[in-house]
Symmetry: C2
Subunit: 403 residues, 2 copies
């Protein structure tokens, strides 16, 4: 039998490690012949744009380089499959096309590495397979820096993003604290609907940092009035106040909301960090700077978490084992057995539990004022950033695997 | 005799390494007793706010941690000493105060780590010493991520900034290239008047990257019309176009210039990256994103250059030797003997050659179209980012030295 693997959704540092996990396990598995890579997620299957991975990933060194290469070596997509129910046969053409291409290449299992949107693809394809009596197995492998997938303890890619955020926030604390005058620094962290990544900045406390002094997540209602009170209170206590804020908080002021257009129809293009910077400047008047950690949060492989990369590879390998056991319509998940020592097992779970669903930061980790995170959360986050990958460098720069 | 050391101007990854250089050399030098650290640059001398560094930097491990800690452990300032000439005795009070504090603590040499503004302080103090017949020596130790100091081949702090910029731009290239549609990514790099840091992104070519496809510096006149033509031409050749741009380029369009206020008196707060992003969106219409590398360029010690940190320490040590030889009113500089093998010597130069002066990227490195950098520049930049510091980690995060 042949198998195929695809990568979908937003980039992370760990997606290629999961690809390596699938590939390495396939090499070890009797009965698996070709391992195809689908270009740009499901689009590669639809367009019959497949790569024989054994021809491009040739050595163990290639696999090691792939593990330290961010984003998706096979490309990605944001393609959403049409609904295809018994009642409504719309879109059957696209499913026929997909199954036609899979059959043509004798592909009996498709591994789909992605987030909650991508799990929708896995679920629809496995349902369609049941409907038409196809034996092709569809297995989801989670990834997202947002850590917002239900069922799994955490998602591959998240730990490396946390490690980058914590290292960078700590460095920004040093950078912001050099002058003798008062200042406020607002750091905007990714997370459209959930605040996992912003919350993880509480980890700096494990290394005796007091900052960030304030942490705001989309899980708590945000009030600009209370925000200004909070900042004023922290300014009274600290010379350099550091604020971490999720990009997804809903601002309750007009005109500064992200993406709001002005009277000329021009977009302001300001994220929440910039909007809050302007607010502090106008209302408090001290020196203020906002910093958007931007895509560096999801692609800074040079400071990836070894735990994350190793787990991402392991969960890819387990997906192959699940397929060989005949499972389909499942997504691989981590179950945490203990924090100390940190032990996780990898299991499979019904993809329907994850497709298009979100997991939020537990309410009990957020303080009553909605402006900070409890120490309880540190136990959860800490193991995820442990360890460093020995990054291969050339000319003083990390080496990336390129096809 | 006692000596003092101070740090001034904007943070870098290498200023604390130069402090270690001064400190370690002082420990080895017969005749030097106390080593004082002045809090917040010259402000610490003026305010008699000195720290006995032997009481706070106690072990070799402390020095190693200090070498990997970004920004300025002693704080910094942007203080400009008043003019104090024979003709105009204004400001003599502040000079009397400074020399009074230095004499009180038997400080016979002050080492001032800073950029071109800070060298102004060194020059004024050494001139004043001559005028009043004081034997106190004033030695400048350069630092700036901008690399804009004349005389010296390069500045400590620059190499680490280049290493961060190159690693991050390479990761952004991977991140930007995953989708099957056309996109433009604009990366805004620090450099108000000179484009050294943006130019250094050409180094990625040494690792077989084609991007950045376009590089704009303040040294060339910028035309939005030509910029749009350039971007259109690159879009015809590449799916994911990457542009590196110095924050200091002068935009020739109104309304989007950084810091321009709108009709309501609100500042747009957009840097050039964001302004160019808007321009591409309006005029070309493809997917476009701008990324500001922001202060992470100057404080990301977790990926500092070993060459840079070692040189920063060495130049601090040489400053102590120069003072012991009786030199004053000088700034330590690197002279490059050869690129391959990379050999630099450390010498002293008249501070007047550097104070308030700038060095620009050579015109011959910039192509005729003013939108890219020649391979010639690679030879210059490459040695500066070589080598990695073995960063001490705790709980998965770099450890910083704190007083």
């Amino acid at each position: 039998m042949n198998i195929a693997v695809a990568q979908s959704g937003g980039p992370t540092c760990a997606i290629n490690a999961s690809l390596v996990g699938v590939f390495r396990q396939a090499l070890k598995t009797q009965g698996i012949d070709a391992v195809f890579g689908s270009k740009c997620g499901i689009e590669g299957i639809i367009g019959d744009d497949l790569i024989d991975l054994k021809r491009v990933i040739r050595t163990n060194e290639d696999m090691e380089l792939l593990r330290q290469t961010p984003a998706t070596v096979l490309g990605s997509c944001r393609y959403k499959l049409p609904e295809c129910t018994y009642e409504d046969n719309n879109g059957a053409e696209i499913y026929d096309r997909i199954f036609g291409v899979l059959d043509k290449h004798r592909i009996e299992a498709l591994f789909y590495i992605g987030g909650n949107d991508s799990m929708d693809t896995v679920q629809k394809l496995s349902e369609y397979a049941t409907r038409i009596g196809s034996g092709i197995r569809f297995i989801g492998i989670p990834k997202t820096i947002d850590n917002d997938l239900p069922v799994t303890d955490h998602t591959p890619g998240f730990g490396s993003a946390v490690k980058y955020v914590c290292a960078s926030v700590q460095e920004i604390i040093r950078d912001s604290s050099v002058y003798s005058f008062d200042s406020v620094t607002i750091i905007e962290v990714m997370g459209r609907h959930t605040g996992w990544l912003a919350a993880s900045s509480c980890l700096l406390r494990a290394n005796e940092e007091v900052a960030p002094h304030l942490i705001y997540l989309p899980e708590s209602e945000f009030s600009t009035e209370r925000f200004l009170e909070d900042v004023r209170a922290e300014c009274a206590k600290h010379r350099a106040v550091i604020v971490a804020v999720s990009e997804g908080i809903e601002l309750d002021i007009s005109g500064v909301r992200s993406g709001v257009s002005d009277n000329f129809g021009h977009m302001y293009l300001s994220g929440v960090g910039r909007a809050l910077e302007q607010l502090v400047r106008d209302e408090i008047g001290c020196k203020v700077r906002s910093i958007e950690l931007n895509v560096m949060q999801r692609c800074s492989s040079h400071i990836c978490s070894k735990t994350d990369i190793d787990e991402a590879e392991a969960i890819g390998a387990e997906a192959v084992k699940a397929a060989m056991r005949g499972e389909t319509g499942v997504t691989m998940v981590f179950r945490r057995i203990s924090d100390k020592p940190y032990v996780v097992t990898i299991e499979s779970a019904d993809t329907a539990l994850m497709a298009n669903k979100e997991k939020f930061v537990p309410r009990e980790w957020i303080n009553v004022a909605g402006n900070n995170i409890s120490d309880e959360a540190i136990k959860y986050f800490l193991p995820l950033i442990r360890g460093e990958v020995d990054i291969k460098m050339r000319n003083g720069m990390p080496v990336h695997f390129k096809m």
